[in-house]
């Protein structure tokens, strides 16, 4: 083991590329501007010769010099218990990072990095707003070595019991919890439907360029006016029994189906690029995910930083007996820590493997053994009322605009409201154990969130006037890293005594555990 290490020489190359990228926009402006220069006889700066803007590129040189200086001055070495980084040529800086404080050692490798066998490494510790050290770029072997150091120290650390005398944690002894083969990967892309994002972006471009109108025109026969008349024809066909433009309707339908298929295929391509060879391994107290075809990401999440786990399953997922699993982590490290971080635990997993995965991440958690508690028996009556009121408003508005047709609207809305409220109440359930509290909800898109009691930040008991009239209450649990729209443990329509009991128990349990990042 070399006592001191430098960055990989390719650092200079990557810095150069970075500077070029940063200078690209100004450089293009310069080149464009130079042809119509503001200098020269006719320009606004009469005295300066034309093309003076090119000289702005001189700024590029100091940036590169800084890179060279950084590369030359950078030293990295491992002490017994800490990582020591020296940097700076003029202002020298020595930073000691104890291994025990290091939360994460993450690496990102894009195609170019892999060509040189290097990685961009980020060392994160508990405190602070940004990562403790960003090492661009280290040889791949150095990254492995650093990880080994950190892991060994953590294994020997005080937080692990005395039974770790079996020796330092061997690097390769990770237990693979999830691995996505190609077939599952494509399936995942199909189910996630990320293609819509790409299509949205593409649609924006097409719209801007005016290509959209022409496309529409071709499908619907000519011009904008004609395409509008197409819809009018369809409407007349449906309501007044006129002839339907079947051929063009078929064409439109085919276009829609083709579009949806293309979206799904794009999404599969996305999954292939982004999640290629997804692997989740457990190494002692850490979860490590590795994924990506071109840009390979290696991320580590210490299990104790997992705040909540959310399992999602849409209708297609359930039909194929699959689910997706996310974890929410929060705080601790990284500039991004102010925002909650959601990470894949498993982009796609068979439902039969789910209990094992959850066991692996949360020891002692058994979904099957959870005693699910339903809501208050009269929860349906509560849940359906807002929907009925909304229906009434929509129907009244419809009556004011389309007259008797409003009856049709009401006939469509009412059964849907009743059925969806019934199913919502039926699928909402909660369960608790000494260490976890779980909530599941959703009829068509089902979600289940597990929060560990020692990650509870605050417990709240809400009672609206309607709740009080029905002697009900809502219990809400606040955890770190729950996003605004994240699924969280928030149980409505509970019997107020049950709610009070749950509130008291959770408060007591949370107070009896220490919170660690």
């Amino acid at each position: 083991m070399p006592s001191e290490q430098r960055l990989h020489p390719a650092t200079l190359l990557f810095d150069l590329a970075g500077h070029i990228k940063r200078f690209a926009v100004p450089a293009i402006l310069v080149i464009v501007g130079a042809t119509r220069s503001s200098g020269g006889p006719g320009g606004s700066f009469g005295g300066i010769p034309a093309g003076w803007e090119v000289w702005l590129l001189v700024l590029f040189v100091p940036a590169m010099l800084v890179s060279v200086a950084r590369y030359l001055s950078f030293r990295l070495h491992y002490d017994d218990h800490e990582l020591v980084i020296r940097s700076g040529l003029v202002f020298r800086n020595v930073r000691h990072i104890p291994f025990a404080r290091i939360q994460n050692v993450d690496a990102v490798e894009n195609v170019f990095h892999r060509f040189f066998g290097v990685a961009e490494v980020r060392v994160e510790t508990g405190g602070g707003k940004e990562e403790e050290a960003r090492l661009r770029v280290l040889p791949r072997t150095a990254f492995d070595e650093m990880r080994r150091h950190v892991l060994r120290e953590r294994a020997a650390g005080p937080q692990v019991g005395p039974d770790d005398a079996t020796g330092p944690a061997p690097e390769a002894a990770g237990q693979t919890l999830v691995h996505l083969p190609l077939r599952e990967l494509l399936l995942c892309g199909f189910l996630e439907n990320k293609g819509m994002v790409l299509v949205g972006a593409a649609a924006g471009v097409i719209w801007e360029s005016g290509l959209g109108n022409r496309l529409m025109g071709q499908v619907f026969g000519g011009s904008d006016a004609l395409s509008r008349s197409f819809f009018r024809e369809v409407m007349r066909g449906i309501f007044d029994g006129g002839p339907l433009p079947l051929a063009r309707m078929g064409l439109g339908l085919a276009a829609v189906i083709a579009f949806l298929l293309i979206v799904r295929i794009l999404s599969m391509a996305w999954a292939l690029l982004r999640l290629y060879d997804f692997r989740l391994t457990r190494l002692d107290e850490d979860l490590r995910t590795e994924y990506g075809l071109l840009t390979r990401v290696t991320a580590t999440v210490p299990i104790r930083r997992v705040q909540t786990i959310t399992v999602r399953a849409g209708p297609l997922h359930r039909w194929l007996k699959r689910a997706t699993v996310h974890v929410e982590t929060a705080g601790g490290a990284g500039a991004k820590s102010a925002a909650p971080m959601r990470e894949w635990l498993a982009p796609l997993i068979r439902q039969e493997d789910l209990p094992a995965l959850l066991q692996g991440v949360l020891p002692g958690f058994d979904v099957a053994a959870m005693a699910w508690q339903p809501l208050h028996p009269r929860a349906f009556a509560r849940a359906v009322k807002p929907k009925l009121i909304l229906d009434a408003i929509v129907t009244l508005v419809a009556a004011a605009t389309i007259g008797w047709g409003a009856i049709g609207v009401a006939i469509l809305l009412l059964p849907w409201s009743i059925v969806s409220a019934r199913q919502y109440v039926k699928h909402l359930a909660w369960a608790e154990s000494d260490e976890m509290v779980v909530m599941r909800s959703g009829w068509i898109w089902q979600r289940m969130t597990v929060a560990r009691v020692n990650k509870i930040q605050a417990v709240a008991l809400h009672q609206s006037p309607f709740d009080r009239r029905a002697a009900m209450a809502r219990v809400r649990i606040d955890t770190a890293g729950a996003g605004e729209f994240a699924h969280r443990v928030d149980v409505p329509y509970l019997d107020s005594r049950v709610a009070r009991g749950l509130f008291e128990r959770l408060s007591a349990q949370a107070a009896n555990t220490a919170f660690r990042w």
Binding site: A482, A510, N512, A514
Partner: protein, 171 residues
């Protein structure tokens, strides 16, 4: 938790009663500003609007008077109602705050989850010797929990009690 803290008595406490006159003044100032702005707007409309019918011209001042009466009533009555529905309890485990007249919320923040605490005092609060206790947690919804209208010295003692007194506390 070595010696029993006097604030951590585990009993429900109401706010300091002085919060009622204080909030009356604060609410009164707020309402007065709002009603003065409304009055100014009304006068401008009355001066500029030539095509207003006579009944419209009469209705506006009457409407303003009714609104002003409601505002005055609200500003004078609400603080007492609010006072009755606010309570807090501090014990060895943490703090429980209950608030809300119509929509009621009880929040429990465990002592070990408190990141830091502010005790702030506005100009009116200083006059009445009151303070606002603001608890910060690492959560999302309740990342900031405020309790206004506690006697200032007491707020400081609650802060002393809740702040983690050392590593390994409350494990």
């Amino acid at each position: 938790m070595s010696e029993p803290d006097e604030v951590a008595d585990g009993l429900d406490h109401q706010l300091d009663p002085r919060v009622i006159p204080m909030q009356r003044i604060a609410g009164g100032i707020f309402m007065a500003v709002v009603m003065l702005v409304a009055l100014a707007g009304m006068i401008i409309v009355l001066l500029v609007g030539d095509d207003l019918a006579r009944w419209q011209r009469l209705l506006m001042p009457v409407g303003w008077l009714v609104l002003a009466a409601f505002a005055a009533l609200f500003a004078s009555r609400w603080p007492a109602i609010h006072y009755r529905h606010t309570a807090y309890r501090v014990d060895g485990r943490g703090i429980e705050i209950r608030q809300g007249v119509l929509w009621r919320v009880v929040i429990h923040v465990p002592r070990s989850r408190v990141q830091h605490i502010d005790v702030s005092q506005g100009p009116l609060e200083r006059r009445y010797g009151l303070g606002t206790l603001v608890l910060y947690t690492a959560g999302t919804d309740h990342a900031k929990v405020a309790l206004a209208g506690v006697e200032h010295g007491r707020a400081l003692r609650i802060r002393e009690h809740l702040l983690p007194s050392g590593a390994g506390d409350a494990v």
